[in-house]
Structures are given as C-alpha cells and as structure tokens.
C-alpha cells in the first residue's frame, strides 16, 4: 500500500489552503503554470508508485505531515505572507529556521544545562543580565535557545546587541529577524514596556574579548543604563550566569593592528585560530551551564528612581555581585571543562 493511499483511507486530513493572496488580476495559465503542472504530476506519480513506501521508510511515518508543513511554510515565505514586528523580529523564521539550526549546537555540542528557568516570569517584561565571554557571542545565542526551549511559555529572548552588529551587512539582517535590537535606552525601554524578555550583556566587548587568563572575572558593567531602563519600565532583573562559554575560544592574544584595520574591537588569537585556518574557528566542545538567578524586583521604587545615580549604581553592583558569586559557585561544582 502506498503512503498516499494509507493516508486517504485512515486519517484523511485536508490542510486548509486559503486561496492565494490576490494582489494582481487573474491571468490565463501559461508556460510557467504548465511547467508547474508537469512537475507536480511527475512528483505525484513517483510518490504513488515506488517512491511512496520508500519515503515512508526513509523519513518516518509522518513524513507527509512534515512535508505539508514545510510546503505551507515555503508558501508563506515566497509570497511574503508573514508578519514582522516593529523591530524586525520574524517569529516564524526564528522558530522554524534559526532556533532549529542552533538547537543541535546547544543540546548536542555544548550540552547546555539550564537551571532556574522558573525565575523568568511566564508573562510581562523582564530584563535578563548575563556575563559575556568567548570572543564570539555564542553565549547570547545559546541563552536564546535555552529560554525558548526550556521556558514553559516558550518565550523569545530579545537581545540588546552592540552597534557593530547593525553596521555589518548580513549580520544586521539576521540579528533583526532573530529579534535583537540596538543596545540603547529607547529600544530597551520600548521592548520592556511591550512585555518582552530582554537580554543584555553589559560587559560588552570588554567581557567577550577579554584574555583567557581573566576568565570568569566580570568586567565593568557599563554605565548601568540597563538598570535605569528596568527601573523606568518597572520590570524585574534576572541575573544570569553562563559557565562554559569562556573556554570555547581561549583567547591568548589579540591582533590589534589587524583589528584596527578592519574596524573591529579585537581579532582573537587562540591556540587553534588562525593557525588551523577555518578549522581553528570551530569552538571547543565545552560543557555549559546557564543559571538564572532570583529576580531582583524594581517595582518597589518609583519610576523617577531611574534618575537617581546612587540607586542605579547600587543595583548595578548588586546584579554584578550576584552573577560573580554564582559563577564561582558553578565553577566549584564543575567536574571538568568538557564534561
């Protein structure tokens, strides 16, 4: 029995296909459509014949459903029939493509262990503040996967990224579509007020580009702008400690002249990069732990408190100390860098 027949007999299900969005007048069938007909007939014939059972064996029982979903996805993409928010966040593309690509890296390669996910509320704005390391922001991407996959509400992390990200071609396009925006007070506040999970790595380039010798030593936390944004939006701050990212690319040197030529903040030299060429760009398979700490409430302060520098500095220090202590605790518990 062919796969197609099996389907027709048992759980016959018609996927709803609304008529194509009609932005143009009707057209008579022409060469392209005749070609489409021929392709469709050929594929249909093959599936009805020998290929059907073969496909069922190769891709599993529900391959037809998955293929139908894939086609529906493709249909929406090629006709532009999907939504992006004001920041350019393309939820569908992020869920179907970006996260699917990053998930194996998080689950199989770095074997990320997520703790304290319950500290992130199910709804409403929250600011996640984390330590930054590893020369390229893999830690930020893994946190995004961790929050989406482990949080019961499958929330999306909206990161605040350095302006370099939005200057680089391709990178800026991907970052916007994945839901990230420029690290500035206006955007941070707008996202928090919309009730999003916003992630910030306040160490910035100082943290991510620090030498291996200074691993797990938190750098200065900017000017505390993130605390002011959280105070204004009156959302809790969740400190987040990431262990394992420091050792993915142990940075033993910095090609400063090259960095200045390229307009980059640093060009890392690791034991493998650039000596092994592209192979040297493969991160070391370290074992990661991402720990979300107890939320620090800000709604006990009035919104004007954001303009009180003493309070902002104190809160910044509190967040920084919490992350640093958690890092030390996690490091003591860790058996080895790779397991």
């Amino acid at each position: 029995m062919t796969a197609a027949r099996e389907y027709a007999r048992g759980e016959a299900k018609v996927i709803p296909i609304e008529s194509a969005p009609s932005w143009h007048g009707d057209r008579s069938p022409d060469a392209a459509e005749r070609f489409a007909d021929r392709v469709a007939e050929a594929v249909g014939g093959a599936l009805a014949g020998k290929l059907g059972p073969a496909a069922t064996r190769a891709f599993g029982k529900d391959w037809e459903d998955r293929a139908a979903n894939g086609l529906a996805f493709l249909r929406r993409r090629i006709t532009g029939d999907y939504e992006v928010d004001e920041f350019g966040f393309d939820r569908e593309l992020t869920e179907e493509v970006f996260l699917s690509l990053l998930r194996p890296l998080a689950e199989k390669y770095f074997r990320v262990e997520v703790r304290g996910i319950e500290n992130i509320p199910t709804e409403g704005g929250v600011l996640i503040v984390a330590n930054h390391s590893g020369t390229i922001p893999l830690d930020a991407l893994m946190t995004q996967v961790a929050i989406h996959d482990h949080h019961p509400a499958r929330r999306h992390l909206r990161m605040l990224a350095a302006d370099l990200v939005f200057v680089l071609p391709v990178v800026n396009e991907l970052a916007r579509k994945a839901g990230h925006t420029l690290a500035c007070n206006e955007d941070a506040q707008a996202l928090l007020e919309r009730g999003e999970v916003v992630g910030v790595w306040p160490e910035g380039f100082k943290g991510i580009g620090k030498p291996f010798a200074e691993r797990y030593k938190l750098q200065r936390f900017g000017r505390g702008g993130f605390v002011a944004s959280a105070l204004r939006a009156r959302v809790p701050i969740v400190p987040c400690s990431i262990v394992g990212a420091e050792e993915t690319y142990p940075m033993i040197g910095n090609a400063k002249t090259l960095a200045r030529l390229l307009g980059l903040p640093y060009v890392p030299i690791t034991p493998t990069f650039p000596w092994l060429g592209p192979l040297g760009a493969v991160p070391l398979p370290t074992k990661w732990t991402i720990q979300f700490g107890e939320p620090i409430a800000t709604d006990s302060h009035p919104p004007e408190a954001a303009d009180d520098p003493m309070l902002v500095f104190n809160l910044t220090d509190q967040v920084r100390e919490t992350i640093q202590h958690t890092l030390y605790k996690l490091l003591v518990q860790r058996r080895s860098v790779f397991f």
């Binding site: 194509a20 143009h24 469709a40 599936l47």
Partner: protein
C-alpha cells in the same frame, strides 16, 4: 466669518485630493489652491486656483486678499519641476516666504505643514523605533530629508514668533495609494528591484486616504479630548520588510553590494526611470520605523490602513511582476495537494485550491 483655507502644492496628486476633500466640508467657505503649475486636473467648484511661485513674495498678497485663516502647506516634496536645486529652493525658500507672509497675516489661526519621517534619517546606530522627541544620531546630510528638517526648523521659529497660531507638523511615512507617484512607488515599479546585499530594511507606509484624513483633522478644530497641534508621526501600524514588499509585488530582487547599488541608482536616475536618490538608498539599506502612539492617543486618529494593507492596496494597482505570488503558490499548493490525495490513474494530480484561471 467662515473658514478660508489656503492649500499649497495643489498641482500634485495629494494637494489636489486634499483641496477637493476640504472644500466639501460644511465649515469651509473657500479653498484657495496655489501652485507654480496648473493642476493636472480641474479643482472642484469650492476651490479657487491661484498660480503663484512660492519663492516670490506674491503669496503674501494672496493670503491678505482672501483673508485666509488656515494654511495647509503641502509643497514640501522630494520631487518637482526642475532639478534638485529648484526643488530645494521651492521647499526651503518657498516655506520661508510662506511663513513670512503668514507672520504678517493677523487673521491666521492655524498652520499645518507636511513633513516626512525622513527627518529621522536612516542609520544603523539609531534606535529601532523613532518617537517624535528623539534626536537622530546621523542627521540627514542632504536631499529632501534635509530640506524637511530645515523647513521644520523655520516652522518652529514661526511658532515661537506667533504663539496665537496653532501649528501642526505632520511627519508622514512613505505615502502609498493606488495612484501614487512618489520616488518610492517609482522604485517599486521597476521590473527588478535592486537591493543592498545583506540588508533587509523595515519600511512603513501610510495610505493616501489616511494622509488626507489626518491633514483634514489637523486643519480643523480639535475634537474633544484630542490635541491637533504639535509634531506627529503619521504611519500605518505594522512594518514590512523590503523582501516582503518585493515578494508581495512579485518582483525579483537583485542584491548588490552597496557601492554597486549606488552606481545602479545613478544609472536609473540618469535614465529618468525612477528618482533613486542617495537618501532613498539609505532608506532601502537601513530602513526606518516610527512610533505612532502620539498620533493614536494625543491626536486621536488610528490609520484605517495598516502598513501591510496600505501596501496591498498599492500593489493591487501595479502591473504584475515577473514572479506573481499566485504562480508561486500554485506550485506549492499543487505539491501540498498531492500529499493528501490519492493520485488518480494517469497521474492527473489531485485537486488544488490554487487559482487556475
């Protein structure tokens, strides 16, 4: 004494439509339309057309003669007769002359100026969503956006000198409609859209009908509970990416490196196919989105068309592109149909809901 409304820029599509619309209002006695050219279509009976070059002081006489109490300034535009220098002169010098005339008009009560969200520029280092009070990091360095920024500066000066006049500045996103003739709609009518490689800008549109409506509300008395003076962003809700626009139009895109895009734009401009200015390249590289909370809450107007709806209305009036969405969906629908139906003998593929006519 009823209302006398002076509308500048009536030779253009938007100006002509607005003049016709406002002349139908029962509170308005007379609409005086001015422009340097003859309107391309006859103005309705309630309108009087006066041919005036705004760059000359003659406008003062027109205002005094008709005892104008409301001025709606729509001439500030990216394109116009003559080259870029003439356009700039009309935008900036024209506005200065008009404001000078307004200052000497004791009966004037209200001034509405059409500006653009272009005054925020398009740059990667700016916030993703602009509010009215934000100062962009990279001010527009030239072109229409700089004209508009200068015009707004003069209007602010005028508002200080004549506090008795209610002044409204409306920053419109790109206006689209079935009969659009703006530089961006010219770009979208190219058969193949050149885009910046590695950039997918966020764009926002406002439908022409909404633009007319907002101008009308700004030119009249404020409704209870709303304020129609000040500066407002006017855009449809939502955002479209350039790639989405191209797909919805069915036009293929050609991603080019930025310098190459500049060259192509130069050729397109020289060939007078479309007005493809450097500021438009910046818009099509970095995009621009504005916050319309003020329009909704203070001004009290929610655009009837969202950005995607406004664009769909524009796209419906365009000729079909090389890759119409229907034909692409016909292929996927056909394949999807095959998965769930038993192919009859002879392999005539299963039923699909694809439009076939």
């Amino acid at each position: 004494m009823g209302k006398v409304v002076l509308v500048t820029g009536v030779a253009r599509h938007l100006g002509a439509r607005f003049a016709a619309e406002v002349s139908r209002s029962p509170d308005v006695d007379l609409v005086v339309g001015v422009d340097v050219r003859e309107p391309y279509r006859e103005l309705p009976s309630g309108c009087r057309f006066v041919q005036v070059d705004l760059r000359r002081p003659a406008i003062a006489r027109v205002i005094a003669e008709h005892e104008v109490d409301t001025v709606v300034h729509l001439t500030v535009s990216a394109t116009g007769p003559g080259g870029r220098a003439a356009v700039k002169e009309t935008n900036v010098i024209g506005t200065m002359q008009l404001l000078g005339a307004c200052q000497k008009a004791p009966g004037l009560r209200r001034l509405v100026v059409k500006s653009t969200t272009g005054v925020y520029g398009s740059a990667p280092r700016d916030p993703a969503v602009f509010g009215e009070r934000m100062q962009p990091k990279d001010l527009p360095r030239g072109g229409f956006a700089k004209d508009a920024a200068e015009v707004e500066g003069y209007v602010r000066g005028f508002a200080r000198r004549r506090p008795d006049v209610a002044v409204t500045v409306l920053r419109f996103a790109n206006i689209v409609g079935p009969a659009g003739d703006t530089p961006l709609t010219e770009y979208f009518s190219l058969p193949v859209l050149p885009t910046a490689l590695g950039h997918d800008p966020r764009l926002q549109f406002i439908h022409e009908d909404d633009a007319i409506e907002v101008l009308g509300l700004a030119a009249g008395e404020p409704r209870p509970g709303t304020t129609n003076t000040g500066t407002f962003n006017v855009a449809g809700e939502g955002v479209l990416l350039l790639s989405q626009c191209a797909r919805r139009l069915g036009r293929p895109t050609v991603p080019l490196l930025l310098p190459a895009l500049g060259l192509v734009a130069g050729v397109v401009r020289q060939a007078r196919v479309a007005d493809f200015s450097p500021e438009q390249i910046r818009l099509l590289t970095h995009g621009r989105v504005v916050d319309i909370t003020q329009l909704r809450e203070t001004f009290g107007y929610v655009p009837k068309f969202t950005t995607p709806e406004a664009f769909a209305d524009f796209a419906a009036a365009q000729s079909a592109g090389l890759l119409p969405p229907e034909r692409l969906t016909a292929v996927t629908d056909r394949l999807a149909g095959l998965l769930h139906t038993e192919p009859p003998a002879g392999f005539n593929a299963g039923p699909t809901n694809a439009p076939r006519s």
